[in-house]
């Protein structure tokens, strides 16, 4: 889907911030992903147009970064840390619990991620890049459920405010 008029205006103001429009590829991809729920081929082609490069260039750049999802991943991206601090205080157990619980749920995409810089309150996870810390498996699931039921309002899939 192409940028909505509102997001197109945002994209143009982002581009104007940089001496070289090429710098706007990452921020524009965030806007597109927040809008569409994932980073579509069409969106990357449109970004290429806006910054004056080729679609292949934009795809090449975006495929380098783990936050850009190249296929639909539901409404909630749940990122669970299992790096060296979370590893010893229960991160892997949270990951397993959420993986099992949402295995068949198309709205929830559970992924294992590297250190989220929340080690002081480990174990930690992010739901659409909103931090939740000091977790146990049941609590993590309750938080995801709260997002699903609308008790908590999620950010966009790329972490932007809605």
């Amino acid at each position: 889907m192409s940028f909505t008029p509102e997001n197109l205006a945002r994209a143009q103001s982002v581009i104007a911030q940089y001496p070289d429009a090429h710098s706007a590829i990452l921020p524009l991809a965030h806007i597109a992903q927040d809008q569409d729920g994932w980073l579509t081929t069409e969106a990357m082609a449109e970004i290429a147009d806006l910054v004056g490069t080729t679609p292949a260039d934009v795809q090449g750049v975006c495929s380098f970064y783990t936050m850009y999802k190249r296929r639909p991943c539901g409404k909630l991206v749940v990122s669970v840390c299992t790096n060296v601090t979370c590893l010893v205080v229960g991160g892997p157990e949270i990951l397993e619990h959420l993986n099992d619980r949402y295995a068949a749920d198309d709205d929830v995409f559970v992924e294992e991620v590297e250190c989220l810089a929340a080690c002081g309150n480990a174990p930690a996870m992010q739901v659409n890049y909103e931090y939740h810390e000091h977790l146990v498996p049941e609590m993590a699931a309750a938080i995801v459920d709260d997002y699903k039921s609308g008790v908590l309002q999620p950010r966009g899939v790329s972490g932007g405010l809605k």
Binding site: P19, H30, Y65, M67, E96, C115, C119, Y129
Partner: protein
């Protein structure tokens, strides 16, 4: 260092004072009431950039991102007459167990913005980029808001406070790549490219973003500048020991009773930091080992020599070969399997290798695979030997610290530090891990790298 100065075991809150003491310090009015932008106003009134350089030089401030490069020397290296020039703040904090910058970014963004203003003025820079890690969604909102508020109140923008000095600050969000914390990879990423480190020279100070002279500084470094100007460089230099002046925001985590960030004066010992400042280990268990400077350097163990090591950038490298790195300290009790920790670190580096240099792209992956089977009950008798020989391709002279490297940036040799630490301190655990039949440890980590 022969410095015998005794450092009191307590926090010395300079950079982190406001974020601890002021409720919602991220809001402009709260930060302003606490004195935010006051030093910036003084700097503008005096208009003496040379004095700023002199103060920072006198302070002995060294970069807080991990490389410890003297900030004043970086500024002095700027080519004299080349414009435009840029300031880039490195907020791509992704090193495992490092979370000090996130605290500043989320809780006291005005301290960062004020530091950026002062630094830009000192270096004659009119455009600054604050590069934040993509996952810092809240941090991004907070810094964007801080810049907006600062502009609205006349601290950032055109002709600031009638001084004739203009500064534009752009907040840029990454998208999930640890390697972008390396300054030249960060610059590539800021230019909208894949985040792969550049071959140096040229250094960013000569040819950085858009091939223009670029000063790259860590968030903590920039946030410290305001306080140096406020205290005076010489006064700041009285803190700390030897060439490690001032304070360091240490992020302490793991099996520790009171994890979190602690701003400590250089010169404390690890024993004092772990057992007095942080209250010792969780459930009063016995210490097994700790990582003194983030994930990329050699580990230290529970022995007097290591625990009595002073928290001093040069001293620890001279005596033990490891470094204070990113300022993270990870603490592990006796229940921890060091081979498992080494594997998880290797998995991280294998995942985050950008793929530019062959020894790293291939090496990190193979190190991870072997450590995986060692830590999951399938180790073979020759595995440690194999691991060491493979590590030598990325970091010749494997056990040497600080490490050597066959790659452009230090990511490749980083997991080798873990391998070397196993070889040095954990022979019994390694032998058990290499003897195959050992029962697998229950880890529920999906292997996807």
């Amino acid at each position: 260092m022969t410095d015998t100065k005794k450092i009191e075991v307590r926090e010395t809150r300079i950079v982190t004072r406001r974020l601890h003491d002021v409720v919602d310090a991220w809001k402009y009015e709260n930060a302003r009431a606490d004195g935010a932008y006051q030093i910036w106003a003084d700097v503008l009134r005096k208009g003496d950039a040379a004095d700023l350089l002199a103060q920072v030089k006198a302070s002995g401030l060294r970069g807080r991102g991990g490389a410890n490069f003297p900030t004043a020397i970086k500024w002095e290296s700027l080519p004299a007459d080349v414009f435009p020039r840029y300031l880039v703040i490195n907020g791509d904090e992704g090193e495992p167990s490092t979370f000090k910058d996130r605290e500043i970014i989320e809780k006291d963004p005005h301290a960062l913005v004020e530091g950026v203003c002062i630094e830009a003025f000192a270096c004659g820079i009119n455009k600054a980029f604050i590069y934040l890690r993509g996952e810092f969604a809240l941090g991004y909102d907070r810094v964007v808001n801080a810049v907006k508020e600062a502009s609205a109140n006349g601290w950032v923008g055109e002709n600031i406070q009638g001084s004739g000095f203009s500064l534009d600050i752009v907040v840029h969000r990454g998208a999930g790549a640890y390697i972008c914390g390396e300054e030249s990879a960060l610059i590539e990423s800021l230019e909208g490219k894949r985040g792969m480190p550049r071959i140096k020279p040229p250094l960013p100070i000569h040819s950085g973003v858009y091939a223009k002279p670029t000063v790259v500084n860590n968030v903590e470094t920039a946030s410290t500048l305001t306080h140096i100007i406020k205290m005076g460089g010489a006064e700041y230099a009285k803190l700390g020991v030897g060439r490690s002046t001032g304070t360091r925001v240490a992020a302490i985590s793991g099996h520790i009773k009171n994890p979190g960030i602690y701003e400590i004066e250089f010169g404390m010992t690890f024993r004092e930091i772990i057992f007095e400042l942080c209250g010792g280990l969780r459930d009063d268990k016995e210490l097994k080992f700790f990582l003194p400077g983030g994930a990329s350097f050699q580990w230290l163990v529970n022995c007097d020599e290591h625990l009595d090591q002073v928290y001093d950038i040069d001293d620890i490298t001279a005596k033990l070969g490891t470094t204070l790195g990113s300022g993270a300290i990870m603490v592990y009790d006796q229940s921890t399997d060091p081979v498992l920790v080494a594997w998880r670190l290797a998995k991280f580096y294998a995942h985050e290798s950008c793929g530019k240099c062959t020894p790293c792209r291939e090496g990190t992956g193979w190190i991870e695979k072997i450590l995986y089977r060692m830590s999951h009950g399938q180790g073979r008798p020759t595995d440690m030997e194999l691991l060491l020989s493979m590590s030598a391709n990325v970091s010749p002279d494997v056990l040497r610290a600080p490490f050597t490297q066959t790659t452009i940036c230090p990511l490749g040799p980083s997991p080798v530090s873990a391998v070397a630490s196993l070889e040095k301190y954990f022979r019994a655990e390694v032998d058990a891990a290499c003897s195959g039949g050992r029962p697998g440890i229950a880890v529920n980590v999906r292997v996807n790298s």
